[in-house]
Symmetry: C2
Subunit: 477 residues, 2 copies
């Protein structure tokens, strides 16, 4: 991928004085030059994007992040901020020799208020650790996703991660109450409010939610967490066609209403892939089907919730929206249903090369794209469709034995043009990164992208933060 | 108030050529110069802020708004955008002779998608009309507030209005999916997406949510609306002390969980005021109390919801968190409970002069401020406390026979200092407007306010949009 991009010659090359300076700030052991240790930070999770950074910095405090950036800005050293490095669009690895600033050592929970449910923590906290912490306190994270074991909250905020609970709790723009961020020139912006409402001036924290580290480095986050509700039910269902899945969603929104907490979709091809490539995966239904839906409800009343879900399932069987289905009898069975859905990414990785697209498309049209892609590619590739149906978010994945430019040229720009024509988004939740920086116009107007570039110039005039990414290279050079 | 501000001499004065130009764009009848008609647009709802504009423009299209702004920018004519003019901080009326751009004629609903619940409409739609429209379609607005009969959705978005349902549905930053806005130079930013998820670049619509018309004029809005749920219950309760109200809130969050849709608070003084000054108000309880709470639940299952609420109320009676209470038996009784809470603003208006403060303060400390203010002012004023307890939002109101600078000097800056000391916000939902432009530092750091000013300079370099407001006058001149 980096092959299509030129290194910006305005960036300096790292020298020994730079390294000594960083050692002075961080101590020698937090300035990593060891090549073996750099390998993992230079390459993304999918092994698709690979940089050649020679330096990984591990600050422990906001003040250190500030000193690092101030120095890099003055020296024109490019920087890539890195959290758990679980991104899917090449946003979290260097493209060339950028200095990697890892937030992993800033992993403390700072405070939790049990009255309001407001958590304040450092950016490097791993999502799963936060989830466990909150679970002990009787609360839950409004965000959950397959990569929770590695991804960090700072990266989640920086990419505006969506995930499995968005249908219930909404996006991070709604749930994040405050952010502390460091600008390219080292200025620390303290916007770390712990208030549900604060209308004093422009709400600038939103600039740092979803800007993929290109406007500043998020160092701390405050987030509103809902109380944990006692009753969780999970059903795994089969539908005879896509139209039934869609009708089932509409019914679920009405009939399950306030207790619906997830509505996930996978097609028969996704299921086959998972059954073939994911350890411990097994079909909870006696036969195979073409379409599956996972429904989760979360509420405060065990008996009435279960009754409501059962009535809904019975009604949907009678209306023939569901062909078969099973309601999890215990937490282990519920986990095994979720494992099928959450494990698709991993199964794809094991199956070979994969072209991943993360699209917002109106629910009615969503599956047409999967079918068109299938007929376009014929038997050269395995096209699978799954995703967050409740949010109109399709994960279109094309699995092939190995990467092949000929296949890529059949997929792109077709997939972007199709999405744009249907007024969708070419990135629902994965972000833009390196992968789609030049494709942003498929989803945003020229004037809007121009204003993004002006804001980039204002906040990071030397463009040292996460270069080559997010914005078209014609606008930022 | 304008007495403290100087008219910025860089702004031109309106001349006949300007009027002719506007008539050419809008037609003569949409260019209002009649003094009688200008009176209402020059003065705010509370009769506290009064400008002296000689021109009110009524565009019908985004293109007309664009032409107006482009012209005003080139001529250095200052502009105040105006919706329903229900603001409480002097944000929606001219300070001097600014040209008033009213959005009232842009009041069409553009589209509504019953599958996704996404509404697209023009900025001048009155909130109550949208609520009625959605009601017919089987959906509800995630936003509701006392001023709904006059306020417009564009103004709601521009001030990031909070209101009565925020505890359930969250803020407009979470619910608004798209915005169309016109910049000072006439550029139309089309960010009118109808997607629940879209991570392509910086999410700039958030700059226009809550910036009070100082960065651009919002002309269209797209918003996610939840399905209407069939079962709504309202209880009006009395508590013996503030601490019981607070504990009741914590219990309600746990026990009512996903069906809780409002948790409102008013003290005995608020109740007295309403009973004395608001038409049709009567105490639903047999005796008077010191503290009242209104709880609303909204869910999909009549019998189980009612059962749940009744069990919660019974338990709270037994625990002595509630001293008395009544559950509305029908929609008329529910409305009469809401009338008490929503009518406080109107009752205050009828009672004389009023100093209004809208504060976010951690729930534990919130009522201390009311009590401190009461002992500070003695019997010179009637201090009342009410608000959205579920969001930690206190409306502190000080009612006096007439405005009096001596009283004001006892209130301010004390109220801001107290709020700042308790890490609160000096504007939870009303915004900054003219009233608090110089007080913003009580809630935001110097670096953050400086960045706000830089963004103002970037988007509106001649500062024609809603001048003298939102940002400190020392930074914008």
């Amino acid at each position: 991928m980096a092959g299509l991009v030129q290194r910006n010659p305005r960036f300096s090359k790292l020298n020994d004085d730079d390294v000594r300076y960083f050692e002075g700030i961080l101590g020698a052991k937090n300035v990593v030059q060891d090549e073996d240790k750099l390998v993992a930070a230079n390459i993304d999770w999918m092994h698709k994007y690979k940089g050649s950074s020679r330096l990984l910095l591990q600050p422990k405090t906001t003040e250190q992040v500030s000193q690092i950036l101030k120095y890099c800005d003055s020296r024109s050293l490019a920087v890539v901020p890195q959290g758990g490095n679980t991104g899917l669009v090449g946003g979290s690895v260097p493209v060339f020799d950028e200095v990697i600033v890892s937030l992993s050592s800033m992993n403390k929970i700072i405070s939790f208020d049990k009255v309001s449910g407001i958590l304040v923590c450092e950016a490097g906290c791993i999502l799963e650790n936060i989830i466990s912490f909150l679970d002990n306190e009787g609360f839950i994270m409004p965000l959950d996703l397959g990569a929770k074991g590695s991804c960090q909250i700072g990266g989640n905020v920086s990419t505006n991660a969506g995930g499995l609970r968005l249908v219930r709790y909404g996006s991070l723009h709604g749930n994040v109450l405050g952010v502390e961020a460091v600008l390219a020139n080292g200025t620390v912006l303290d916007m770390l409010k712990t208030l549900r409402k604060d209308n004093t001036g422009y709400d600038l924290k939103h600039l740092f939610i979803g800007s993929e580290g290109s406007l500043g480095i998020v160092t701390k986050v405050s987030i509103l967490t809902p109380p944990k509700l006692s009753s969780v039910n999970v059903a795994f269902l089969a539908c005879k066609d896509y139209s039934s899945c869609q009708k089932l969603l509409q019914e679920a929104k009405r009939k399950l209403g306030e207790i619906l907490s997830a509505f996930e979709f996978l097609d028969g091809q996704s299921m086959n892939l998972v059954l073939n490539h994911l350890e411990g995966a097994r079909n909870p239904l006696p036969t195979l089907h073409d379409y599956y839906v996972l429904i989760e409800t979360t509420g405060s009343d065990e008996s009435s919730d279960k009754q409501k879900l059962e009535a809904f399932l019975l009604g949907s069987m009678e209306n023939e929206l569901i062909s078969d289905g099973v309601l999890a009898q215990d937490i282990n069975q519920a986990s095994s249903f979720w494992h099928l859905r959450e494990g698709i990414s991993e199964a794809l990785m094991r199956a070979g090369a994969v072209y991943k697209y993360d699209l917002s498309i109106p629910v009615e049209q969503m599956y047409n794209l999967v079918e068109e892609m299938r007929s376009r590619l014929g038997n050269t590739a395995n096209v699978i469709g799954y995703g967050h149906l409740g949010d109109s978010n399709l994960h279109l994945n094309i699995s092939t034995p190995q990467y092949d430019d000929k296949i890529l040229s059949q997929i792109e720009p077709f997939v972007y043009e199709w999405t744009s024509k249907h007024r969708g988004s070419i990135s629902a939740e994965h972000g833009v990164g390196l992968m789609k920086a030049n494709e942003i116009f498929y989803s945003k107007s020229g004037e809007t992208v121009q204003l993004m570039a002006s804001i980039k110039n204002l906040l990071d005039p030397n463009h040292i933060l996460n270069p080559y990414k997010v914005l078209p290279r014609s606008l930022i050079s």
